[in-house]
C-alpha cells in the first residue's frame, strides 16, 4: 500500500509530529527503558493497541514472528517495550529495511512522543520501502466503511467493516483509487462448508490485514455481492492520521488467529480506530462482536465528541443503483428495457432513434448498467454468450452518440444500520390470554432484528439465540420459545429488475410452546421458506407471501406452511402482521396462527411493543424493550 499524508511535509515542520523534544534526553537505552517502565508505558492502552495485546494478559494476538523485534519474542507487551526501545536506538547499519525504525515506525513515533527522545525524522529517511509506500497516495480522509450483511457466505451474514484512506477530492482524487485496508481469514479454496463454519467459530484459520486499492474491494462488495456500504469519515488530526498510517505499515500482512464470533474484522479494525482516536470503544473482552456494534459505539461517541466529519455517507450497491436507474425511466422506456433484457435482441437503433436525446441516453445507461450488473467480472469465457453479445450491441449503439451524461438519477438514501437499534435485545413485559391472569415475560437475544423493529435492516428479520421465558403467578419459570436462528430476507424493491425472480426466503429453527393453556408442549421445528415480497406505492408499506417447508417434533411430522404478512413503518412507529396455517402430515387439525406487533421507538435503544397473538393460545402482551 502506498500512503502519503499530503500534509506530511507540513507536519515535519510542526511541533509534536516529528517528536521534537523540549529538552532532548540522553539516548541511553537502559535509562530509557527504565523510564518507560516507571511511566507504566508497558501497560499503557496505546502501547497495548500498537501491539494488539490484551489489557488483561499483556500478550499480543499477532502470531507472525516478524511483528516482534526478535522472532523468539514471548509476545508480551512488557518485554516488547524493552526490545523495541533498545532496537530503536541501535545504529541503522547497512540493512536499513530491517532496522526497528523502519519496521516499527508507529511504535517509534508513539514512544518518542511519550519519552521525549529524538532519533531524527519519523519515519527515518533511510527507510526506503516505507517512504516509497507512503508516497504513493495522498491521504486526505480516513473512513471506516460498514458493509451490509451478505447471506451468500456465513461469515458475511452480520456485515463487514473495512478502512479507506481517501485522497484529496479537490485535487482530482478518485475514490476508486483510494487505498483500503481489510481484515479477513485466510481460507483455502474449495473448503468444506461444515469445516469452514467449525474452524471459523472455534479456531483453525489465520487472518490478517491486507492493503488493497479500493476498486478491488468495490468490485467484490458492491458489484459482485451487491452490498450497500456506509462511509464513516473520521475527524482525525494530522497527528492521528500519521500514527494510524504508520501502524498500518507495521501491521499489514501480519497474521492473527481468526475467530468469526469475536476476533473478526470488526474487532481488528476497531483496534486501529481506537488507536487513532485514543479511545476504548471496543470491549476488552466479549464472546461476540458484530461489525455494527462498533459503529453504534462510534455514533454514540460522535454525539459527545464529534469524532466524525459528517453523518455516515450511503454508498449504494451496484444493484441498488441499477434499480434507481430503472425507477427513472418512463413507462414506455421501461417496457422497452424489459423487452430487451428478456430476449436480448431488440433493434435498438430503430427503437431509440425517435426518442428525445436524454431519454435515449437514460435507456442506454440503464441497459449498460443492467448488463454490467449481470456480469461484473466481464469474462466472456464464463458468461452466457447471449448476454455478452447483447451488451456488445448496446455498447455499439451507445458509442454512436456523443459522450454525454444522462440526467442524474436520484438515489434513495438508506440510513446506516448503526442509526437503528443496536442488536442485543433485553425485554420484559406482561402477556395475558383473553380473560386470564397475566404472566411475566422476559426475553433476551444477542442479535434481534425483529420484523417491524427499528434496526435499519431493510425488509428483513434476523434473530439469533432468542430466548423467551414466561413466569406465572406462582413464580414458576418456563421456556416459552427459543429461536436458534431466524433469517428472513425480503426482496421488495420498486421497481423489480425485469427477468429476475427476486425471490424472498427465510430460515427458521426454533423450539416453541404449543397447545392449549395448561397442556402445552415444547416443539422443535426447522423450516425453509420461499416466496415473494412487494413494495407498495404507499410510503412505508411492504407485503409478502412465503411457503415454508419444515419438520417438527413432539410429535414428529413434516409440514407445509403458507404465510402472508405486511410491514408498515412511519417515523418512530412500525407494525408487522403475519398470518399462517400449518399443515402437518399426520395431524387431524391444522394450526392457524397470526401475530400482530406494533412498535414505538424512543431514541436508539428503547421501544415499546404491543403484541397480539392469534393461535391455540391467543394472548395480548405489552413489552418494554431495551437494545444494547
Amino acid at each position: 500500500m502506498r500512503i502519503h499524508v499530503i500534509f506530511w511535509g507540513l507536519l515535519w515542520a510542526c511541533a509534536g509530529l516529528r517528536a521534537q523534544p523540549v529538552a532532548p534526553v540522553v539516548l541511553d537505552a537502559t535509562a530509557l527503558v527504565q523510564r518507560a517502565y516507571a511511566m507504566g508505558l508497558d501497560r499503557h492502552p496505546q502501547w497495548l493497541r500498537l501491539l494488539h495485546a490484551s489489557a488483561k494478559t499483556g500478550v499480543s494476538d499477532v502470531v507472525s514472528p516478524e511483528f516482534y523485534v526478535k522472532p523468539d519474542s514471548d509476545h508480551h507487551a512488557h518485554s516488547e517495550l524493552r526490545e523495541t526501545l533498545v532496537a530503536l536506538l541501535e545504529p541503522m547499519g547497512v540493512n536499513a529495511a530491517r532496522h526497528a525504525r523502519c519496521r516499527f515506525p508507529a511504535r517509534h513515533l508513539w514512544l518518542a512522543r511519550q519519552l521525549n527522545f529524538d532519533t531524527g525524522t519519523i519515519p527515518d529517511v533511510r527507510c526506503q520501502a516505507l517512504n516509497t509506500w507512503r508516497d504513493g497516495h495522498p491521504v486526505q480522509t480516513v473512513s471506516l466503511l460498514l458493509v451490509s450483511g451478505y447471506f451468500g457466505n456465513p461469515a458475511s451474514t452480520f456485515g463487514h467493516a473495512l478502512l479507506r484512506f481517501g485522497s484529496d477530492r479537490s485535487q482530482g482524487g478518485n475514490s476508486l483509487l483510494d487505498v483500503s485496508l481489510n481484515f479477513g481469514a485466510l481460507v483455502p479454496e474449495d473448503v468444506n462448508m461444515l469445516s469452514y463454519i467449525y474452524k471459523g467459530v472455534f479456531g483453525g484459520y489465520q487472518a490478517g490485514f491486507s492493503d488493497k486499492d479500493f476498486y478491488a474491494n468495490d468490485l467484490v462488495y458492491s458489484r459482485t455481492e451487491n452490498r450497500d456500504m456506509w462511509s464513516y469519515d473520521l475527524n482525525l488530526t494530522p497527528a492521528q492520521v500519521q500514527l494510524l498510517a504508520l501502524h498500518v505499515w507495521e501491521i499489514s500482512g501480519q497474521k492473527f488467529d481468526y475467530y468469526f464470533l469475536n476476533k473478526n474484522c470488526a474487532w481488528r479494525l476497531a483496534d486501529l480506530i481506537d488507536l487513532a482516536l485514543d479511545q476504548a470503544l471496543r470491549p476488552e473482552d466479549s464472546p461476540w462482536f458484530l461489525p455494527v456494534e462498533y459503529f453504534h459505539r462510534l455514533e454514540a461517541l460522535n454525539e459527545a465528541a464529534s469524532v466524525l466529519l459528517r453523518p455516515a455517507q450511503f454508498i449504494p450497491s451496484y444493484e441498488r443503483a441499477l434499480v434507481s436507474r430503472l425507477g427513472a425511466l418512463n413507462e414506455s422506456n421501461l417496457a422497452l428495457f424489459e423487452q430487451q433484457v428478456r430476449n436480448h435482441a431488440v433493434d435498438l437503433d430503430d427503437k431509440t432513434a425517435k426518442l428525445p436525446s436524454l431519454e435515449r441516453l437514460a435507456l442506454f445507461d440503464a441497459l449498460l448498467a443492467y448488463y454490467t450488473w449481470k456480469a461484473p467480472g466481464g469474462d466472456s469465457s464464463i458468461l452466457d454468450p447471449v448476454v455478452v453479445g447483447a451488451k456488445k450491441r448496446v455498447m455499439l449503439a451507445r458509442l454512436q452518440y456523443p459522450a454525454q451524461a444522462a440526467s442524474p438519477v436520484a438515489e434513495t438514501l438508506i440510513p446506516s444500520p448503526a442509526t437503528g437499534s443496536p442488536p442485543m435485545l433485553w425485554a420484559g413485559g406482561l402477556r395475558a390470554p383473553p380473560g386470564g391472569a397475566p404472566t411475566v415475560m422476559l426475553e433476551w437475544s444477542p442479535v434481534s432484528y425483529e420484523a417491524g423493529g427499528h434496526h435499519g435492516i431493510e425488509g428483513g428479520q434476523m434473530s439469533v439465540a432468542d430466548l423467551r421465558m414466561q413466569i406465572n403467578a406462582q413464580g414458576d419459570a418456563e421456556l416459552d420459545a427459543l429461536t436458534v436462528l431466524k433469517i428472513r430476507k425480503l426482496h421488495a424493491r420498486r421497481p423489480n429488475i425485469p427477468g429476475e425472480d427476486g425471490m424472498s426466503w427465510q430460515v427458521d429453527i426454533a423450539w416453541q410452546q404449543e397447545g392449549d393453556v395448561g397442556m402445552t408442549t415444547l416443539r422443535p421445528h426447522a423450516a425453509y421458506g420461499l416466496g415473494y415480497a412487494h413494495q407498495f406505492a404507499a410510503q412505508g408499506w411492504q407485503g409478502f407471501g412465503l411457503l415454508n417447508v419444515g419438520v417438527i417434533g413432539a410429535p414428529s411430522a413434516a409440514y407445509l406452511e403458507p404465510l402472508v404478512g405486511a410491514l408498515w413503518r412511519a417515523g418512530p412507529w412500525s407494525a408487522a402482521i403475519e398470518l399462517r396455517k400449518r399443515f402437518e402430515d399426520n395431524a387431524v387439525v391444522h394450526l392457524s396462527s397470526g401475530v400482530f406487533n406494533l412498535h414505538y421507538r424512543w431514541g436508539h435503544v428503547y421501544a415499546v411493543k404491543l403484541e397480539a397473538s392469534f393461535n391455540d393460545r391467543p394472548s395480548l402482551g405489552l413489552f418494554w424493550q431495551w437494545y444494547q
Binding site: L177, E189, S210, L219, S381, V388
Partner: protein, 166 residues
C-alpha cells in the same frame, strides 16, 4: 492445494504470454501481469495477499505471483493502469461506451490525463479506439485477461495521443 494452484497458474501464465506475445507495446499487459501478479499490483505491501488474490479472486484466467511483489518494475503508472483495467473490465467498457463514469475518470487519472482538455481528448480517443476493439470478434469471445489486454492497449494509445503523462 496451493501447490496445484500455482501449477495451474503457471500454465495459465505461460498460455497468456504466448497469446499476448505479439503485442506491439514495449511492456504489454501480459508481461506486466505475469511478471508482477495481480495481487502485487493491487496490494504491494502484503505478500500473502498477492498470492491469495491471484488464486481466489480472479474470475477468469489468472497468472502467477512471485516475490516480484516488491519489485520497482511493478510500481509504475503502466502497472497501475494494467491492474485497474484487469479488475474493472466490465465497468470500464460500460463507462467508455457512455463517455463518462467513475471508472473512466479513474483510468484517466491513472493514465496521467489530469488536465481537463487532455481528459476530454483522452475520453474521445478511447471511445474511438474502443469502437474498433468491439468490432474485433476476439474481444467478444475473449476471457477477462484477453479483454483487459486489448483495453489496456486502447488506454495506452489514447493516453499517448492525448499527450497524457502515462
Amino acid at each position: 492445494m496451493a501447490k496445484n494452484g500455482f501449477r495451474s497458474l503457471s500454465i495459465a501464465a505461460g498460455m497468456a504470454l504466448a497469446l499476448l506475445g505479439g503485442s506491439a507495446q514495449a511492456r504489454d499487459f501480459g508481461s506486466i501481469y505475469t511478471e508482477c501478479g495481480l495481487g502485487a499490483l493491487i496490494a504491494p505491501k502484503t505478500a500473502w495477499v498477492a498470492v491469495v488474490t491471484n488464486i481466489t479472486w480472479d474470475l477468469g484466467s489468472t497468472a502467477i505471483s512471485s516475490d516480484l511483489s516488491t519489485a520497482d518494475s511493478c510500481k509504475g503508472g503502466k502497472e497501475k493502469v494494467a491492474a485497474f483495467v484487469f479488475q474493472s473490465v466490465a465497468q470500464l467498457e460500460t463507462d467508455i461506451a457512455r463517455g463518462e463514469g467513475e471508472h473512466l475518470a479513474a483510468v484517466s487519472s491513472l493514465a496521467g490525463c489530469s488536465a481537463t482538455n487532455t481528459q476530454v481528448s483522452f475520453g474521445n480517443g478511447l471511445r474511438s479506439e474502443f469502437s474498433q476493439v468491439l468490432a474485433n470478434p476476439a474481444y467478444e469471445s475473449g476471457n477477462r485477461m484477453e479483454k483487459a489486454s486489448m483495453l489496456f492497449d486502447s488506454v495506452q494509445n489514447s493516453a499517448t495521443a492525448a499527450q497524457c503523462g502515462i
